[in-house]
């Protein structure tokens, strides 16, 4: 792993959602195991891409990091402080350091408020600076995301999706955070606009030394954006490593299948895998042993009995698969 002190480190982070049926609490409680025992590190200034199919728990994991969702167990160390056990007051201070950008830029700005009001809200909450200083900061950030200062007095509906997402980026930067969780930030945008927003995020990272968790189901975007990549399946990290390793030498059969599903503009290239068979199993009742075994073309007896651990297969590359481990 990276030698530097990580900015964020999770240890056995787990989230279980109880399914509360409407009515009397009779019978066995059912639980959605959204995120199960996730331990990973994100170094300062780095982008960790988190990929997986929809519903695999990647957004839940990201929202736990910014404490929009409380974790069930495990800890989140931010600069060595465990966030999972912070008091409400300390948590508020932490909120200045971590921010989130959402998927849908049409839904994440209050339609009743001017862009200026939305940008100023974080500073108003923390009572930072004088009103004039706050406006100045908002104007400066708008400029940084290449929007005119006149946008301050306009309403979100006057802007396009890409412009709105840049407004959201500016809002996330208002408190000078160190870490930003990007939750599918480009999947609601047109392809032509995606590149613009992603490059914006990369530029800002270079300029401000930001650390990103980049959650997406789009492997191409993640490749462009990330330094390291983690692959999630049914709430567990099944492979993590340097971007080059993951994309050029994937270890886990699931990662291979995901990569094979990315269309490549080369008719002569044959696919190693055909597309994945079957549905993702329910996180209420995940398969025993390896969670991927029900869809894995290489599954063997041991896969149903023993849950594979993440094991290093190279420098900064770990895979949770029995078959890969037996190779090395």
């Amino acid at each position: 792993m990276t030698k530097t002190q990580p900015l964020i480190e999770t240890l056995g982070l787990t989230k279980h959602f109880p399914i509360s049926g409407r009515g009397l609490p009779i019978g066995r409680k059912r639980i959605v195991r959204a995120v199960e025992d996730v331990s990973l590190r994100i170094a300062p200034g780095e982008t960790l891409g988190l990929v997986g199919e929809s519903g695999c728990g990647k957004s839940t994991f990201g929202r736990m990091l910014v404490r929009l969702i409380d974790s069930t167990s495990g800890s989140i160390l931010f600069d060595g402080v465990d966030l999972a056990r912070l008091s409400a007051r300390d948590l508020r201070q932490y909120r200045r350091k971590v921010q989130i950008i959402f998927q849908d830029p049409f839904n994440s700005l209050d339609p009743q408020k001017t862009v200026g009001a939305s940008l100023l809200e974080p500073l108003n909450v923390f009572r930072l600076g004088t009103p004039a200083e706050r406006r100045e900061k908002a104007a400066a950030l708008l400029d940084q995301v290449r929007l005119p200062v006149t946008a301050l007095n306009r309403y979100p509906h006057e802007f396009s999706g890409g412009q709105r997402q840049r407004i959201c980026i500016a809002r996330a930067l208002m408190l000078d955070p160190k870490f930003i969780m990007c939750d599918e930030v480009v999947s609601a945008l047109d392809v032509s606009v995606q590149a613009q927003v992603i490059n914006q995020l990369k530029d800002l990272q270079a300029a401000l030394g930001l650390t990103y968790l980049f959650v997406s189901h789009d492997l191409g975007v993640v490749r462009h954006m990330s330094h390291r990549v983690a692959v999630m399946y049914l709430g567990r990290i099944i492979e993590i490593g340097k971007k080059e390793e993951i994309y050029d030498a994937p270890g886990h059969p699931y990662t291979k299948a995901l990569l094979a599903a990315v269309p490549i503009a080369d008719p002569r290239r044959r696919r190693e895998f055909t597309s994945l068979e079957g549905e993702v199993p329910s996180p209420v009742n995940p398969p025993s042993g390896c969670r991927f075994r029900t869809r894995c073309p290489l599954a063997q007896d041991i896969c149903a009995r023993v849950e594979p651990e993440l094991t290093a297969v190279g420098t900064d590359h770990a895979v949770a698969c029995h078959l890969v481990q037996s190779d090395t």
Binding site: L68, R95, Q99, I100, Q103, L109, D110, V125, F126, R171
Partner: protein, 278 residues
């Protein structure tokens, strides 16, 4: 204010016109008209004349000035009761809708219990317990509107709290109260205004019904409902005693309903800005 008026559809403009005339009459009318309490038994039960435009009642009081002064009571009850119901109902609805949990469960069941009873029964109960008087009537009539506002506020808050901009506000450290007043309430505003306008009309009707039944404000006072009740006894001898107070109620309620419908039509056209709820 003027720009709102311009955007209103015709029906809404008519409503505003009716209400403006009514308000003007209620405010300035008593200054120029006869004393609504002055009796003159010699001129009792007279028809419309140059001196008494709508005639006189059974003890010779000027009917027009009584109706004009009655407008004050009706509007006071209508607006007061609606404000009472809106403030309490919206507070209950927004809190329970946003924070959810057992609080929401308990509050909403309580609201449903209130809704089960017809408004007039609730009002009668309150007056039976608290006694009569203008303030008690306002509370009694307003209580009926509480669950109506609470329900609208709760269901709308439910949809709004799932929006990502609420999450974004949480992520920048905004407290629950801050989110409620700076994000949830403004989003509710449009639909609340429409509901409130229509509730003023209903409250006036319930208020008039109460005094028609002889409860509520003192029968001495020129309230339209109690004027109807008195006039009822003379219905075959002197029709103006029931027709004019009845018309007054009808025109007022019509004016408010026209305004309410106009507002609804106008606000639902304003796309882009604001959440417009049915």
């Amino acid at each position: 204010m003027l720009s709102v008026l311009k955007k209103l559809p015709l029906s809404g403009k008519i409503g505003v016109g009716i209400l403006t005339v009514l308000l003007m009459a209620a405010i300035f009318g008593p200054m120029v008209l006869h004393d609504p309490y002055a009796q003159n038994l010699i001129h009792s039960l007279e028809g419309p004349s140059a001196e008494h435009w709508l005639g006189t009642d059974q003890i010779g009081r000027d009917l027009l000035s009584r109706i004009v002064v009655g407008a004050r009571y009706s509007l006071l009850i209508g607006i007061g009761a609606t404000l009472f119901g809106a403030v309490i109902g919206v507070a209950i609805g927004v809190f329970s809708g946003y924070f959810g949990g057992w609080l929401e469960m308990a509050m909403m069941r309580l609201m449903e219990m209130l809704m089960v009873f017809p408004g007039i029964l609730i009002a009668l109960m309150v007056i039976a317990v608290a006694g009569d008087g203008l303030v008690n009537v306002i509370v009694a009539v307003g209580l009926r509107a509480v669950p109506i506002f609470a329900r609208l506020a709760q269901t709308s808050t439910h949809t709004i709290r799932e929006r990502e901009y609420i999450l974004a506000a949480k992520a920048v450290g905004a407290s629950g109260f801050r989110i409620l007043y700076s994000h949830v309430l403004p989003a509710l505003f449009n639909s609340l205004v429409v509901l409130a306008a229509l509730q003023v009309a209903t409250s006036i009707l319930v208020g008039a019904t109460l005094s028609f039944l002889g409860v509520g404000i003192s029968p001495e006072m020129p309230e339209w409902g109690s004027m109807l009740n008195t006039g009822r006894r003379y219905i075959f001898q002197h029709w103006p005693l029931v027709v004019f107070p009845g018309l007054a109620i009808m025109i007022t309620v019509l004016g408010i309903n026209l305004l309410g419908d106009g507002l609804r039509a106008m606000l639902s056209k304003q796309h882009g800005r604001g959440v417009v709820l049915k």
